[in-house]
């Protein structure tokens, strides 16, 4: 298990990773760094979890892999090719090989459930409508929502929207599936079903899956490896779930155990409460 801290952090070598993130730094503006010299590798055909607290840059990392934002420093490679937002033709070619489940679904509100799942098929294939119908119904069946095909998006619950978005993300059977907080807001049954679905999809299609989450038990139940990011946008540790559970690193132990005290402070930096309330000791 790698527990050395960035910037000297170098992940384990992998002969053919699908995604390579090499010493990447990124910030939405110059005043705040989200990711600080991080290096990660995501092996083909594996489920890799990216864990970390809110605001540590997990979603940003997915967006950098998809080329939504150009990196400030370092390199992102998809199947050996650089991900470059300036080269739109190559970027779109790469994007056709990935699917992403957004945190809040990002479903098209002017389309029905059926049309949302059919959207990538209609845009990128010349399949006849009868075949598109069959594929869409199969994808919706996989997430348990075949019966909801005719509903409008306004008629579905948040949990259902997430599952529809999952069906849409896998509509084209992508090589890389990125899940952004797939368990947030789901009831226990839907959480279990979604977790199993991620694992089964990965095993059945041979896809590579990246699961961004702060739900440790669910992620550890389905992932092959996991990375833990710190609040400063650094990689704290990585390894198999067993290796991370056995870690002695205080930050890893605090995150996995959900302990309130430790290297990660619960409170945002502020002056003492008594001072701010104008009370004297």
């Amino acid at each position: 298990m790698g527990q050395s801290r960035a910037p000297s952090f170098r992940p384990m070598s992998d002969p053919q990773p699908l995604i390579e993130i090499d010493r990447v730094s990124f910030g939405y503006d110059a005043s705040r760094t989200i990711l600080d010299d991080v290096s990660l590798r995501f092996a083909r055909g594996k489920v890799t979890a990216i864990l970390g607290g809110s605001g540590c840059g997990k979603t940003t990392l997915l967006r950098l892999i998809a080329g939504v934002h150009p990196v400030s420093q370092g390199r992102v490679r998809f199947d050996g090719e650089p991900v470059d937002a300036a080269n739109r033709e190559r970027l779109y070619r790469q994007r056709r090989r990935l699917g992403m489940l957004f945190q809040f679904g990002a479903l098209f509100t002017d389309l029905s459930v059926f049309d949302n799942v059919a959207f990538p098929l209609r845009e990128h294939t010349r399949l006849p409508e009868s075949m598109i119908r069959d594929i869409v119904l199969m994808k919706l069946d996989a997430v348990g929502l075949r019966g909801a095909a005719a509903l409008r998006i306004a008629q579905v619950s948040g949990g259902m929207a997430r599952r529809i978005a999952l069906a849409r993300a896998i509509a084209l059977d992508p090589e890389l599936i990125m899940y952004d907080e797939p368990f947030t807001g789901l009831d226990p049954i839907a959480t279990g079903v979604t977790a199993n679905l991620i694992r089964r999809l990965n095993d059945a299609t041979g896809a590579t899956s990246l699961v961004v989450s702060h739900d440790v038990p669910e992620c550890f139940a389905i992932c092959d490896r996991a990375y833990l990011l710190s609040g400063g946008g650094r990689v704290v540790a990585h390894g198999t779930p067993e290796e991370l559970r056995a870690s002695t690193d205080p930050e890893v132990r605090q995150f996995i155990g959900g302990e309130p005290d430790g290297p990660v402070r619960f409170h945002y930096p502020a002056p003492p409460l008594a001072q701010q309330l104008g009370l004297r000791a």
Partner: protein
């Protein structure tokens, strides 16, 4: 005095920064406009998308356009009658109403109503799509939202505006007929014949259509740009919607003056 020197420097720095920001925004919007033009031919090939937008933008604006045209026609006929009767020139009423509607009021009032009805709807829709990550989701599916979402709406706006302006003018003329002929008693034959005689199809009707097409480009472009560049928050979308109406309305009024000067400068 040193204080004045510092104040002057700060004011100049602020002015420079503000000017640069404006120029940057102008350049950015120009690139956006070029993108809309670039993606329009591809959107035309997917004509069902454009037809849907013509329905949503044009058909859904019909009621307000027709009602406003009727009201304007009523008032215009009354006002013109009061003015012309003083000089014993009520036989010109049909001509004056017709020219005012075809050349000016039809295109301009339709554009202002369009900016308020369809423009705000477009800005809010695109802004909410952005806030709901629908546009970035589309991008990640390797589908360019400028081609799939914006260009069909752009074309829908350009096609809808002249049709709406013609409907506004037609209903306005009918409204004027009701007031002038049926209520006041102006001679019906005179009302219609002077229009046939003095209204030129190309100069009056044609220029009015060209005007409304230009206004269609302006209103739709401003609405789409403001939505696409809005902050992805409720307050950001609300601010963008307000900006959309204000900028489009001012641009229409300014452009109307320029077009009128170019089109009707010679007798």
């Amino acid at each position: 005095m040193p204080c004045h020197g510092v104040g002057m420097t700060q004011a100049l720095a602020w002015l420079g920064r503000a000017t640069l920001d404006r120029l940057r925004a102008l350049g950015h919007s120009a690139f956006f406009f070029v993108d809309l033009l670039r993606f329009s031919p591809a959107a035309l090939r997917r004509w069902p998308l454009v037809l849907t937008q013509i329905h949503l933008i044009g058909n859904h604006s019909l009621l307000i356009i027709a009602a406003s045209g009727l009201a304007v026609g009523f008032v215009l006929a009354l006002q013109m009658y009061y003015a012309l009767v003083t000089y014993g020139a009520t036989e010109s009423l049909g001509l004056v109403v017709n020219l005012a509607l075809l050349r000016e009021l039809g295109p301009v009032v339709t554009a202002l109503l369009f900016a308020g009805r369809a423009g705000t709807s477009l800005t809010a829709e695109i802004g909410l799509m952005k806030a709901g990550e629908q546009l970035v989701a589309m991008e990640l599916m390797a589908v360019d939202p400028r081609a799939r979402v914006l260009a069909p709406r752009f074309l829908g706006g350009i096609v809808s505006m002249p049709v709406l302006a013609l409907i506004f003018s037609s209903v306005g003329i009918l409204g004027a007929y009701v007031v002038a002929v049926l209520l006041i008693g102006v001679d019906a034959g005179n009302f219609w014949s002077i229009m046939q005689d003095r209204v030129d199809v190309w100069r009056d009707l044609g220029n009015g259509i060209v005007k409304s097409m230009v206004f269609g480009v302006i209103c739709t472009f401003v609405a789409l740009y403001q939505g696409y560049e809005s902050q992805p928050t409720p307050a950001g979308v609300a601010a963008a919607t307000t900006r959309s109406v204000v900028i489009a309305s001012l641009a229409v009024l300014g452009m109307d003056f320029i077009l009128t000067a170019l089109m009707f400068s010679t007798p």
